[in-house]
């Protein structure tokens, strides 16, 4: 396959992995974030944890694989973004530390202080990464203060605190809200009784909040944030580095794709439709459909961000010409080709056995079940 197509395909594939992460690991992070909010008793919290118990670990591999795929397919992005967003990433990492140990260790002791401490850990492990991912995405729209030298060594000059600007915080709340909502719709499917009722109510609330914040972010970009446009001609079939192009700042640049490729409007439409579906189906007490709604919303929101930035991945605010794009951050033609086939073979296999796993563990969990199996469940 030719290099140009592979570059585009890898943009799609990384997107697929990120969406896979948000749609699967997203709901168990959401469950973590809501653990103390809607789980009132120890048994209820255990129900919540056990709905994701057999799955969170596999789900998290979407995240790990997305990281590995960025390393393999977009090494420049991996290098510049991970070293630039140093503290943001370490914050995500340290928050995520709480998850494997939290799930595994929490219910191994009965002491309420022990359990309470791990519940906080699991809350942090669910909420903080969700927030930080959104904040990072928000900053991409504003541009990130990095530059590259002639040997492709990157240098990031911003601070961690500069990431926490108002627009990025809105983006962070969109992300946190959507994953919490997604966790809540999952809980609607997998629980009953009071917990189920609370999950239903909070799903509706969160879907409305996310819709408002997502609209605010969109209007903010429309009204107040300049985008970027590549002004030199790009030969997609050639090996390029981010040093090989010219870029201009343009008002409304982040919305240009929607007039150039009108089909992309589908993304925000799906996002809002998914949110509406979540509200309606939660109100109608149709948990599975509400979960489909929130999955669509998550997918639509991530696609909207990706489509708006395209072909940019990580704009530079210091030197827009050095911004990272899908054309100039990729691995060699050979590596992209090999990795494409690896993904084509293994992603379907993964989907197959993951589905089997969910199928085998399906059904609602009750507090009675937890109490009967208190030594063999989380």
């Amino acid at each position: 396959m030719d290099y140009e197509s592979l570059k585009l395909i890898w943009w799609v594939l990384i997107g697929v992995l990120l969406i896979g992460f948000a749609v699967t690991d997203g709901f168990d992070m959401g469950v973590g974030a809501l653990l103390r909010v809607i789980g009132k008793t120890d048994s209820e919290r255990r129900v919540m944890l056990n709905t994701v118990g057999p799955h969170w670990d596999g789900n998290q591999v979407w995240f790990i694989t997305a990281g590995g795929a960025i390393f393999a397919a977009w090494p420049v992005v991996y290098a510049v973004a991970f070293s630039g967003f140093y503290w943001a990433l370490l914050l995500v990492l340290f928050a995520m530390f709480f998850r494997p140990v939290g799930f595994e260790y929490r219910s191994k002791m009965e002491d309420p202080r022990w359990r309470n401490a791990w519940d906080w850990g699991l809350t942090i492990g669910g909420a903080v990464p969700a927030l930080v991912f959104g904040v990072a995405f928000g900053n991409l729209f504003l541009g990130v203060p990095f530059t590259l030298d002639e040997f492709m060594r990157s240098n990031y000059t911003g601070s961690f605190w500069a990431l926490l600007n108002p627009f990025a915080l809105v983006a962070g709340l969109v992300s946190l809200g959507m994953l919490a909502m997604h966790g809540a719709t999952y809980l609607q499917m997998r629980t009953d009784g009071d917990l189920h009722e609370r999950a239903r109510k909070i799903s509706i609330l969160l879907a409305i909040v996310v819709a408002v914040l997502f609209a605010v972010a969109g209007l903010w970009i429309y009204a107040g944030i300049d985008g970027l446009v590549i002004t030199s001609s790009i030969n997609g079939a050639a090996a390029m580095t981010p040093l090989d192009k010219t870029v201009e700042v343009a008002a409304g640049g982040w919305l240009e794709n929607y007039s150039r490729y009108p089909v992309m409007i589908a993304a925000p439409v799906i996002a809002f439709a998914g949110l509406l579906l979540t509200v309606l189906m939660s109100a109608a007490n149709r948990g599975a459909l509400a979960f489909i709604g929130s999955s669509l919303a998550v997918t639509g929101i991530i696609c909207t961000a990706g489509f708006s930035l395209f072909p940019f991945i990580m704009p530079s605010s210091l030197n827009p010409a050095y911004s990272l794009t899908v054309w100039d951050v990729v691995s060699s033609h050979k590596t992209l080709g090999i990795m494409f086939w690896v993904a084509m073979i293994f992603v379907p296999i993964i989907l197959l056995y993951t589905t089997w796993g969910y199928y085998k563990m399906r059904g609602r969990l009750t507090t009675a079940f937890i109490e009967d199996n208190k030594y063999s469940t989380y």
Partner: protein, 534 residues
């Protein structure tokens, strides 16, 4: 210029987090297979005790696995956060096995581990057995891809420098996969993991035997671990990765340092069993030598030489000088001279470019390097001999110690007399840390011995770091040390608690602390423990 302390702190952070991660990895590799074997016995015989074994050792497996997952995340992030230039420079090759590891192995392991713990009532016996085997296979395949990545750092085959993108690019994927260094490392590392799993089960079962409780459970666990461990320790020693040390320049240097081989000897070279290596005089004081043994071990022949440090040093100096020329040509090309003669001249020298980059530690402008700089850079290519020499001997010594213990365990276990050999049972408990120490010093030899390179002959460690401040590194390091210490305390606490409790922690009513007839003073305290844990 990149500060020395930034480089040292980045290295320290990687060393600490990687070695910490590897406290949990070998047990996962070994115990997962032991669980699969136990469950196979359960499915074949239908005896309840085997299922209890899978569930109990599975509990301990879970406590360990959680930290393996936690600390593995760090490794995934760290190449990007702390080693950004490395990631850019070799991501084209190095990233691929990491991504494949996720897709092919880690997904498998992580998806099925959930079914392993929670699927007992949802799956048929055979389905659950299959799940357990897939966890074991997944974790071991995971090790394969990680070691392919690591093997490539030691011996970077199948790749070439591209001056237009300023990085290494893949030329031959199958060379990367079938890298002999990676293959040898894989077998050695997973076998060491199997030994770790076996020693773990042996020591804890020995404890139950000494306490005279849950004997049928302990006996069967012991027998499985002893036979599995016996096969594994033989494979670790015979397939020791020394055979991988004759491939590639940096591997040769490592071998010379491990063996304190200062001078090239007439083949077959003598083996220095023990002595005091002296880096200043380039001699080993008080050396005790075994004639011909090094040649035999390292080259598997009588007539091939094992190159000594002094000769390697000279060779490296020559390559540094050629590296300077390569660097000058690279600068010319980066400035726009892409004429055929320039490119041809660069191509002839580009294998030595990495040696030229070693000078970046001393001067920003490699072309202006002084004789003094060149001598210093050449010296840098020889790792410190004494730590290599000793670390290797500790690893091998522990390996033979475990060979003896496991062989005896296996023998007495087949004779059904192991319970009477209390000295052996006690020795097994005392020796429990041995596999971990051996693994850690083994990794030390492999990675400390790779210095000054992050990618052998291609990219110096010094250049590989991210452009971050020293303060960033201090703070993140402090964070890791604090967090990891806390996690280790919690993990050890749970591990010891559940090991002491034994299969009674399953609450089946079949084991020691749940038997009412065993009431007595000695039971009172663990009874309390049973109530505390859920």
């Amino acid at each position: 210029m990149i500060s020395e302390s930034l480089v040292d702190l980045s290295r320290l952070q990687f060393a600490i987090t990687a070695m910490y991660h590897f406290l949990f990895v070998p047990l996962t590799l070994g115990l997962s297979f032991i669980l699969a074997i136990m469950e196979s016995a359960y499915v074949m015989t239908g005896k309840q005790v085997y299922q209890d074994m899978v569930k109990f050792w599975g509990k301990l497996f879970g406590i360990n696995f959680a930290l393996g997952v936690t600390t593995g995340l760090t490794m995934e992030f760290q190449f990007g956060t702390n080693w950004a230039y490395y990631s850019h420079y070799v991501g084209d090759i190095f990233g691929a096995p990491l991504a494949i590891e996720g897709l092919m192995a880690f997904f498998l392991e992580s998806t099925f581990i959930g079914l392993f713990f929670f699927g007992w009532d949802r799956l048929t016996r055979v389905q659950h057995l299959m799940v357990t085997w897939l966890v074991a296979i997944g974790s071991n395949m995971s090790a394969l891809w990680i070691l392919i990545a690591n093997g490539w750092m030691q011996n970077p085959v199948g790749a070439e420098f591209n001056y237009e993108t300023m990085r290494m690019e893949m030329t031959n994927f199958s060379e990367v996969i079938f890298n002999p260094v990676a293959q040898v490392k894989f077998v050695h590392t997973v076998s060491a993991g199997y030994v770790t799993g076996a020693m773990f089960v042996l020591a804890i079962s020995a404890y139950y035997m000494l306490k005279k409780r849950d004997l049928p459970f302990a006996r069967r666990s012991f027998a499985i671990a002893a036979s599995f461990g016996f096969a594994s320790i033989i494979s670790v020693i015979i397939l020791g990765d020394e055979s991988g040390y004759e491939i590639g320049d940096v591997q040769k240097t490592k071998l010379a340092a491990i063996e304190a081989e200062w001078h090239t000897q007439e083949p077959p070279a003598d083996f220095t069993l023990i002595g005091l290596p002296n880096q200043e005089t380039m001699e080993t004081d008080y050396a005790v030598k075994i004639p011909g043994a090094l040649g035999l071990i390292a080259t598997r022949s009588l007539d091939e030489e094992v190159v000594g440090i002094k000769d390697l040093l000279q060779e490296h100096e020559l390559r540094i000088r050629r590296g300077i020329e390569a660097y000058a040509l690279l600068e010319k090309m980066r400035r726009g001279d892409k004429s055929d003669p320039t490119i041809a001249a660069f191509d002839a020298l580009k294998d030595d470019l990495g040696y030229g980059l070693l000078l970046k530690k001393y001067t920003n402008n490699v072309v202006d390097a002084t004789e003094e700089h060149i001598k210093q850079a050449a010296q840098d290519t020889i790792p410190k001999v004494a730590p290599m020499f000793w670390a290797f001997r500790i690893m091998v010594g522990l390996g033979f110690l475990m060979l003896i213990l496991i062989s005896l365990s296996f023998y007495y276990s087949t004779q059904h007399s192991v319970e009477t050999k209390t000295w052996l049972l006690k020795a097994l408990i005392i020796a429990l840390p041995a596999p971990w120490i051996a693994s850690e010093v083994g990794w030390f030899v492999a990675e400390f011995g790779r210095q000054p390179w992050s990618i052998a002959e291609v990219l110096p460690t010094h250049l590989s770091v991210s452009t971050r401040s020293v303060d960033d590194l201090y703070m993140s390091l402090a964070g890791f040390i604090g967090f990891y210490t806390l996690l280790l305390i919690v993990e050890m606490y749970l591990m010891i608690r559940f090991s002491r409790l034994g299969p009674s922690s399953l609450h089946t009513g079949r084991y020691h602390f749940e038997q009412t007839h065993s009431a007595g003073a000695a039971v009172a305290q663990p009874q309390q423990a049973i109530k505390d844990q859920a």
